[in-house]
């Protein structure tokens, strides 16, 4: 009897253990279409208690002194180490090309994706106030004399130079995103910073990437960085996992509270930006906080009642909140599409697939022109971005700046708006893909049959791929939807030799100073072929030497007419060869605000030219200085 009981106990513990192990793996983020990396939570060091910063008491925060956000993150935050990309603390730190998060750490310039210009923050001078030398191999800017760290010491060029040096030497990836373009960052004197380009044939590899660096990467405190490296013995992993409680910052907000559910920053009332050379005052909210919700739907229901002020969630039919429910909710634009679209989620054809037909541009184009993009827009985006009728497809996103970069008339005949079933059938018939015994089109007795994939649970993407599959069936091509877990999906998608997916979906790059070049390169360049763990682009392994040649010429070209010619040629090739095709335009930042407590957020009709960048990123942080209480 006793042994029986013991056996039962042992078996139950085994099952419980298995249960816990299985639950630990499911850490995907629904709706979050950003590739992991910056936001991936690290759970290496779970033994230490959660950092509580200055262990502020969050129950005491009056609602009218705090600005709350949601939709930034899915897992709990780890700490305050701005040097590490393992903190999963996007309220405080996020360094992206469309404008870094600036409440705590600051960049020399604030990027404004509305006008594609750089507004000075730590840097002195005017808009786009940096300077290049004659051959654009060196970029120089000076720092404001008023700029100070929270410990009172000045922000100097030595901080900027050491941030670069430490990043190259102590970041786990060795700063691989930047070292191909930037050779070094040096201090010419205490306040002058010089960025030196990687030079090829006497020209910079891509001078725009140096501009992008100004608005994307923080300047960190040299003394703090030295202490950080020192106390971790220079070990990259241990530096990345250091919680950085003592982080020295230059921004208007510092750590206040952190637990598994929320992160709160509090205003530093001695912030240097009160100086007349910068904002001239303090930002309005005393606290800013980001609360984690279980799902988009849970976050939305809190946003609706006004407990969250700024939501970065994609909210379906958000316009109903003000048109039908009369809530004080608004988006940047008053009418559809409501947001500034910057991204172009794209379906890639896998050139490595052994399936018959995918190597034929006619099949690829036939599939692409038969897709009902209006249906995708309606279902996956609830019409919150422009359609391909509004902005004809190319390699450019819908921003005016990018749209002006190619000759529309030259490629108009190649652009398609979709749902052209007859056209697609005619193309396939003419190319000899006849309907065979299987009921589907065949070539040499083998039917055209593809697997259409995206991560499971990403409902808007699933809806989009569902429409793609439906289009294939209409033109006699068998399509099987195959939605798989994100953890599996990402490994397959970034693998060079995968044959699992035939047509699969991923985002492109959005707004940045180095666009549209970076996005086009990521979509078309064969330099990413045969690389495993390739997160940059060309996931379908497309290769075209003519494209590669043009891509090499563009960054070194400064003549606008010549650039237009290159870009037009690339669009022409892209729309003819169709190695991939955009499914929709999509906002990078959803930026929906509830003005129950605060008002003064940016809107398209206020003439302030502040980008809708969640009120704390890039030049969008100007919002914080314009907020007033409603009540």
């Amino acid at each position: 009897m006793k042994t029986k009981r013991l056996l039962a106990l042992a078996l139950v513990s085994v099952m419980l253990f298995a249960f816990m192990a299985a639950c630990g793996g499911g850490d995907t983020s629904p709706e979050d279409s950003n590739p992991p990396g910056e936001n991936t939570p690290s759970s290496n060091d779970t033994s230490a208690p959660p950092p509580s910063a200055d262990s502020g008491d969050t129950t005491d925060i009056p609602r009218n002194e705090a600005l709350y956000f949601n939709g930034f993150q899915w897992g709990p935050s780890v700490g305050w180490n701005a040097f590490s990309s393992n903190m999963n603390n996007p309220l405080a730190f996020e360094q992206t090309a469309d404008g870094a998060r600036l409440p705590m750490m600051e960049t020399p310039y604030m990027y404004n994706f509305l006008d594609n210009k750089m507004y000075p923050l730590l840097a002195d001078g005017g808009v786009d106030g940096y300077s290049f030398n004659a051959d654009r191999t060196e970029l120089t800017y000076t720092l404001k004399s008023a700029a100070k760290w929270n410990d009172g010491s000045a922000v100097t060029a030595h901080d900027a130079a050491f941030t670069w040096e430490a990043s190259v030497n102590y970041l786990p990836d060795g700063y691989a995103n930047w070292t191909p373009y930037i050779a070094d960052v040096v201090a010419a004197d205490d306040s002058t910073v010089v960025i030196k380009a990687v030079v090829e044939n006497g020209k910079p590899v891509n001078a725009n990437m140096m501009i992008q660096y100004l608005g994307e990467r923080y300047i960190l405190n040299k003394a703090w960085l030295e202490a950080l490296i020192d106390r971790n013995g220079g070990d990259k992993d241990s530096i990345a996992n250091d919680k950085g409680q003592d982080c020295v910052y230059s921004g208007a907000y510092g750590p206040f509270f952190m637990d598994d559910n929320k992160v709160i920053l509090t205003r530093n009332d001695s912030y240097w930006g009160q100086d007349a050379s910068m904002w001239g005052k303090l930002p309005a909210p005393k606290y800013i906080g980001n609360v984690l919700y279980e799902s988009n739907a849970a976050g939305d229901s809190v946003f609706v009642v006004g407990e969250v002020d700024v939501s970065q969630n994609y909210i379906e039919n958000s316009y109903k909140m003000w048109t039908e429910q009369g809530l004080p909710v608004s988006t940047y634009l008053a009418d559809a599409p409501y947001h500034i679209a910057a991204n172009m989620p794209t379906a890639y054809f896998n050139m490595n697939s052994p399936k018959v037909g995918l190597d034929d541009p006619i099949v690829r184009k036939a599939i692409a022109i038969s897709v009902d993009y209006d249906m995708i827009l309606a279902n996956a985006m609830t019409n919150q971005s422009p359609s391909f009728k509004d902005v004809p497809r190319s390699l450019m996103n819908p921003s005016a700046a990018e749209q002006a970069m190619y000759n529309k008339a030259d490629v108009a005949a190649l652009q398609w708006v979709g749902n052209d079933i007859d056209g697609a059938n005619a193309m396939l018939d003419a190319a000899g893909y006849a309907i065979g015994d299987s009921g589907y089109r065949e070539k040499d007795g083998e039917k055209l049959s593809y697997k259409v994939s995206c991560p499971t649970g990403w409902s808007d993407w699933e809806a989009a791929m569902y429409v793609v599959a439906a289009a294939g069936e209409k033109i006699g091509i068998e399509m099987e939807t195959y939605f798989t877990d994100w953890s599996v999906y990402q490994v397959t998608m970034t693998s060079a030799s995968q044959t699992e997916f035939d047509i699969f979906m991923f985002s492109t790059q959005g707004n940045a100073p180095a666009q549209p070049y970076s996005r086009i390169r990521a979509l078309l360049s064969s330099e990413f072929n045969n690389l495993d763990n390739n997160w940059t682009g060309n996931f379908g392994q497309y290769s075209n030497s003519e494209v590669d040649d043009i891509l090499k010429l563009i960054p070194q070209e400064t003549d606008a007419a010549k650039l237009r010619e290159y870009y037009t040629k690339l669009v022409e090739i892209y729309l003819t060869e169709v190695p991939s095709f955009s499914l929709m335009y999509r906002p990078e930042k959803f930026h929906t605000v509830n003005e129950s407590v605060w008002t003064g957020f940016t809107s398209s009709d206020d003439g302030r030219n502040v980008p809708p960048n969640n009120s704390i990123s890039g030049y969008g942080i100007a919002d914080l200085y314009n907020l007033t209480l409603v009540g």
Partner: protein, 417 residues
């Protein structure tokens, strides 16, 4: 047999449950006959369109026969459809904020109110405090433009040959067309869901699939439970110990957690409705086993069983012929409950994203998952996307439970009247 049936249908509980269930079942059989086609077809380019009859604007303009009705309240209704009572309040608020004396504004006098609005509203002078407020005034002004216009409307058609617009017809405010003459109308009793699919059609198809899942899971669970219970109860000894060991093991682990684990370990592309049904069946046999065993133990030493043993009958014959008939009514009742709980389990699994794959079929759980978990139908105010599903799930399990208690009243000697 006839007597048993009469007995079964006599108590109100069973009959009520049976009628509800039969109605739902009939709906799934008959509705597709009247409204054939793919229930998942995405017919709408908008998600969550509200219930109602939709008339093609294009076709209604193209209907040749028009009828003239001079209805006294037509103009009033037309204005009422644009100017709601709350809009009148908004106008009053705006005007008083501008400084107009409150008693000079009569919100019931539509013409005066609109005249005041058009005289005083200035798009350049935005007095709203928030973006939302300012935009609401602009939207109201746009909406009310031309509210009193009753001139005839001219319909022009573009002629690509001459690159001109040719006058086609005039439409007056008293023109009506018969809905029957309009080529394209569509009736959506429950609107559309997030995919733009006909909600009622999808719901009916989902009920069918969910009932099937319930049936398969119920059969699997009952068969396993019955077999193990009969063996354990009749054989006793080591066989009983071994079977009960596993049964107890599964009893202490919540079945739903096992279900989640098993579903999670099956890749989504392989999770069809049948697979999910079998998985549910495989995790919910425990209580059937326990109760069947208990009943069999009490039957095992009855005289007729011993007689059968002495006559040298084989084990299967004794079990099937002498024991099973005595517990058959209990097994049927357990089976009904299994169906009900399997439908609920599928709904629960699907809400967690572990249900059948979404693109093949609709199930009640999947419809709920898409409308509530993935598309926030609640925030869009689309009650039709989830309330009917919830009600149907409740009705199905309510009717099955009613039938179960009804049967219990007849077959349970302690409850029998």
């Amino acid at each position: 047999m006839k007597n048993t049936l009469r007995q079964v249908f006599r108590p109100g509980k069973f009959l009520a449950g049976f009628i509800i269930f039969a109605f739902i079942l009939l709906l799934t059989v008959l509705y597709p006959l009247f409204n054939p086609g793919d229930p998942l077809a995405m017919i709408g380019l908008n998600n969550f369109t509200k219930p109602g009859t939709y008339v093609s604007v294009y076709d209604s303009l193209n209907v040749n026969r028009t009828f003239v009705f001079k209805l006294p309240d037509a103009a009033e209704k037309r204005i009422g459809s644009k100017l709601f009572p709350e809009d009148r309040e908004t106008i009053k608020d705006y005007l008083t904020r501008l400084g107009l004396p409150e008693d000079s504004i009569d919100i019931d006098d539509t013409h005066d109110l609109m005249a005041l609005w058009w005289n005083n509203y200035d798009p350049a002078n935005q007095i709203g405090k928030t973006i939302a407020e300012r935009r609401a005034y602009t939207a109201l002004d746009n909406k009310l433009a031309g509210i009193f216009v009753s001139e005839d409307l001219e319909v022009l058609q573009y002629d690509p040959g001459t690159d001109e617009y040719v006058r086609k017809k005039m439409v007056t405010e008293n023109d009506y067309v018969n809905v029957g003459d309009v080529a394209n109308t569509i009736w959506l009793p429950l609107g559309t869901d997030n995919f733009g699919a006909d909600m009622l059609k999808k719901l009916v198809s989902a009920i069918g699939t969910s009932l099937l899942i319930g049936l398969i899971a119920g059969v699997v669970a009952t068969m396993i439970g019955l077999l193990l219970g009969l063996l354990a109860g009749y054989l006793g000894g080591i066989a009983d110990d071994v079977i009960m060991f596993f049964t107890n093991l599964f009893t202490v682990i919540p079945g739903f957690i096992l279900l989640i684990l098993i579903s999670y370990s099956i890749d989504q592309s392989r999770r069809g409705a049948t697979t999910v049904a079998i998985v549910i069946g495989l995790t919910s046999w425990v209580w059937t086993t326990r109760s069947v065993r208990a009943q069999v133990i009490s039957l095992r030493n009855r005289d007729h069983v011993n007689l059968s043993k002495l006559s040298g009958h084989s084990l299967p014959r004794i079990v099937v012929g002498d024991i099973l008939p005595y517990i058959a009514s209990y097994v049927v009742m357990a089976f009904i409950l299994q169906i009900s709980s399997a439908i609920l389990a599928e709904a629960g699994l699907s809400m967690l994203g572990l249900g059948p794959k979404t693109t093949d079929t609709a199930t009640l759980g999947l419809v709920m998952e898409w409308s509530i978990m993935k598309s926030a139908a609640h925030i869009s105010g689309a009650w039709w996307a989830y309330y009917p599903v919830i009600i149907v799930i409740a009705l199905i399990s309510f009717s099955l439970n009613l039938m179960n208690t009804g049967l219990d009243q007849i077959f349970n000697p302690q409850l029998r009247d």
